[in-house]
């Protein structure tokens, strides 16, 4: 399999960042960037990246299974992540997550039927002083009220 020319160029550069013979180090960035482009870590991607880095598919699988941001199943086009960890919880993060569940009709790691939106309750994302926070894909939204959440979600559903 091949990736977009931009990503291929990025991969080609990436492997030069690490000492000779230790190109395996590029695996996690490649998985992340690959997932960003393809939408999930597919079997084909695991085989391909394994082949490029001299790893068996099982060795890639070991890594994929470990990291919570790597998904073998596709998430929605917009992956809504609501933090409910302590700092956010103290400022209504759990209620915000419940609200999102009801609003979207989705539970933890579920994807809408049209594949557009997915929801995940996540651990601390480093926005504690601006809680409660959510991330849509990689974009942070800080101090999110339920009304603001509604606006954000409605924007995504369009």
């Amino acid at each position: 399999m091949t990736f977009s020319p931009e990503l291929e160029a990025k991969f080609a550069d990436l492997v030069t960042h690490y000492p000779e013979g230790r190109q395996r180090a590029a695996l996690i960035p490649m998985l992340m960037f690959g997932q960003d482009e393809i939408g999930s870590v597919t079997q084909e991607m695991m085989e391909e990246l394994g082949r490029r880095l001299g790893l068996s598919t099982m060795q890639v699988d070991e890594v994929v299974g470990y990291y919570s941001m790597l998904h073998k199943k596709p998430m929605g086009k917009f992956h809504v992540q609501v933090c409910t960890n302590v700092a956010c919880m103290l400022r209504g993060g759990a209620e915000l997550y419940d609200h999102a569940c009801h609003k979207l009709g989705l539970g933890h790691k579920q994807v809408s039927a049209d594949g557009r939106i997915s929801l995940e309750e996540v651990e601390c994302m480093g926005a504690c002083s601006w809680a409660p926070a959510i991330q849509v894909n990689y974009d942070f939204h800080h101090e999110v009220s339920t009304d603001q959440l509604d606006t954000i979600l409605e924007g995504l559903q369009k």
């Binding site: 068996s56 099982m58 060795q59 699988d61 070991e62 299974g65 919570s68």
Partner: protein, 691 residues
Amino acid sequence: MALVNVTINGVSVQAENGALLIEVAKQNGIEIPAFCYYEGMSLQAACRMCLVEVEKAPKLMAGCTLPVAEGMVVRTESEPVVKARKTTLEFLLSNHPLDCPVCDKGGECELQDMTFKYGVGESRFTEAKQHVPEKQWSPVVFYDAPRCILCYRCVRVCNEGMGVGALGVSNRGVYSEIIPSHGDHLECDECGSCIDICPVGSLTSGIYRYKTRPWEMEHVGTVCTHCSNGCKTTLGVRNNEIVRGNNRDRSGINGEFLCVKGRYAFDFNHHPERLQTPLIRNAEGVLEEASWSRALKLVAEKFKALAGPKFGVIGSTRTTNEENYLLQKFARTTLGTANIDHHRSGDVVTLVDSLSGKTGQLGTVEEVYTAKAVLVVATDLSQQHPLLANKVRANFRHHKAAVYAVTPGPVREDKIARKFLRAAEGDSIAAVESLRDELAKAGDLVILFGDSIQGEKVRQLVAFGESLGIPVKYVCLVDYANSRGAMDMGVLPDLGPGYHATAPGLNLQQMLEATDLSALWVVGANPLKGGKTLASKDAFVVVQDLFRTETAERADVVLPAGSAYEKNGTVTNVCGQVQRIKKGIETVGSKADLAIIGLLARGMGVSLGAVDADTIFAEIAATVPGYSQLPMPIILTGGAAQTHPVNGRVPASTVPGNISSARDTLFTTGSLTRYSKILNEVLEKPGALYS
């Protein structure tokens, strides 16, 4: 190395500086319990069972990763340590299914034993346990994730021990589980080491599952009957049936190592096609069942009538030394023929000749593990000689041995080799020559070579080795459990026991090609395999075997023989190491080859004296050079002792083409494995040498 003084539980002991505490304790008779620590494998410090109290340390320390140092004061049974163990076991059991009554491991489970010894009797866990369904990864490997304690022994033995790396771990935290090489199934050596090494019943064997409980079996220590490496195997026998093969006591030259054949391929023994009764070709030319007395009488009469220089005898690479010795003696004396040979798969004869006058230059299995350098020539060691390959890997892992491979195609040793060269079999010696400078600096060297190195090439290789100026040992690789013993015992057309010259007779090939053989007696061999024919149309053919082989189909009389698991005796492995095999089960209908020879002699009115393994071995020890100095206490207690049967010129010339290995893979060995149900099921890559 410098010694340091360490106090363990109030007792001062001395230990090598930097040695691991858990090992130091063990050497001094103190057990520090552990699950993940496993001697000879990489350290994990994961199970936390080995936590001990070390003075001046702020918290309990893991004994498995703690190097001892001068003045260290350790307590392994103090109150905090005892409590830590209890709580670790409590944590472990919190998500363990506790289905011991139906678990294969019950009775020999390390978690059971530890809980019994160190745990608490009651559980405070009242939450729901996590359940994941059991998975089957291959015909021989099943994985039950809930039972798994994640000690990673299986992952390590597969990766480090076997060099296969077919097991990994995926997911995180409490959801972590072991995963197989190919998503939902395993493609590997199917050696079952992972199952054996599993301290709990998480990995179970497709062969053994739900068959018995450990305490209901008799455990018989004997030697695997398949390849020439001679692994000791402990058979689990229940109701006269072998249900398991392993070597958990780590005795013998192989320690706990066994390959797929050693661990599972005993099942040929119970194959439905196993011959249970003699067969005699009737007037219609069909083999029909007959009684032993009728068959023996017929054969004895024929032998008596046909004895003489036109009689041919083919011995075996998997019968015992005693059987081969008696066979050649019987052939040369009673039958009056020099036509005796066996399927030769390596040129040991030229090797011992090349080394005449020198001592101690035949390598042992142990030396493959301890030599500073190992050179593998013209063989796919991991496929054909799994134990030796395992020792090479262990030597690399433990001693950073310099490994060199000169082979016609890719081999597993490439991965650990300091240098590997691709050379067609005809060019091996030249390629080896190119390594001269490096090898000369190796310190000491063991050279393992395959069947294509024969005759003059063996002499060239030895000359090369001897010119390096370092100690060099040699292992001439041969195929089967007693290939080496057959040669030592003189099942050769021109050499008697101990490679003494005898009046020359026909070799195997010549016997098949001769048109005037009066009789051919084939004991435990299948020379007509692969469509070969016997040129002497009228020869009276007697075959002793376990199955109706291609050769048996040509026989006039077929006598059902006992397997290696059904008799006592000794075998000599590829390195010339003599080991005792022990009868594990009673034969039904068949007889040991030794007994058959004895009965035939009696039928012919010839006295061979007492025909039992011990008596014959005593005769071998008295008459065969090299076998007289064997340390019997070692052999009798299940050990291996090397023989060097000759130390002078061997007056024989190697006939080109008469030596060839069957080129078996990990999943085959001659006629026996064809009848192993399990090997046929797991056959991963048929005939895949050098791939």
